[in-house]
């Protein structure tokens, strides 16, 4: 799950039948320090979040589980409105990904 902020909404009349009746919000993903990160995405919503609100969203197939029992074709859903975020210290930077390509030769 990721933090984000509601920055807009999308209107669509012609849509897949199982998306009918669902709100679609434009979400700006955020870091834990609430700085913008990454591209803005479109999320379905199960919370009634409004403009400017801090939320968290879930991605992948699990996003549609938030809207059960209806099976909705969504890969990103807003699942909660955040009241506050507490950080003990600045989040540690992610570890560097392992180098791609050939493995280093074995010793010995």
């Amino acid at each position: 799950m990721y933090l984000g902020r509601v920055v807009g909404c999308v209107w669509s009349t012609v849509k897949n039948r199982n998306l009918e009746g669902h709100r679609m919000l434009v979400i700006q993903p955020l870091t834990p320090e609430l700085a913008n990160t990454g591209q803005r995405i479109v999320c379905t919503d199960c919370t009634g979040a409004g403009a400017g609100e801090l939320i968290y969203w879930v991605r992948g197939r699990e996003a549609s589980y938030a809207l059960l029992p209806q099976e909705v074709a969504t890969d990103t859903t807003v699942v909660a409105i955040v009241d506050s975020v507490h950080l003990k210290s600045a989040a540690a930077p992610a570890p560097a990904p392992p180098a791609r390509g050939r493995k280093p030769p074995r010793k010995g």
């Binding site: 920055v7 669509s12 849509k15 998306l19 803005r40 996003a63 074709a73 890969d75």
Partner: protein, 88 residues
């Protein structure tokens, strides 16, 4: 889900039988302001989108949950045609 623009079509005669009858479109991701972003993707169309239209695409296994895509080898589906994007 991401916003994208329809930029072309794909014609494939030999394909998985479970994809027969589906329209395949090339879409390019766009920002909410309508600016093109990097990359292209081939998506199955479930809403009869046309060339140049702004659409909503869903990817991954969720694409198979779109109406008509159940149990089909689809990982990106067009599930909506955008009327308007309202930015606050």
């Amino acid at each position: 889900m991401i916003l994208a623009r329809v930029v072309g079509t794909v014609v494939a005669t030999r394909k998985d039988p479970r994809l027969e009858g589906f329209k395949l479109l090339i879409v390019k991701p766009v920002s909410p302001e309508g600016k093109d972003e990097a990359g292209y993707v081939v998506a199955v169309d479930t809403v009869s989108a046309g060339a140049g239209e702004r659409v909503i695409t869903v990817s991954g296994s969720s694409a198979r949950m779109a109406d008509g895509c159940k149990d089909r080898p689809v990982d990106t589906a067009i599930v909506g045609i955008v009327d308007e994007v309202h930015l606050d």
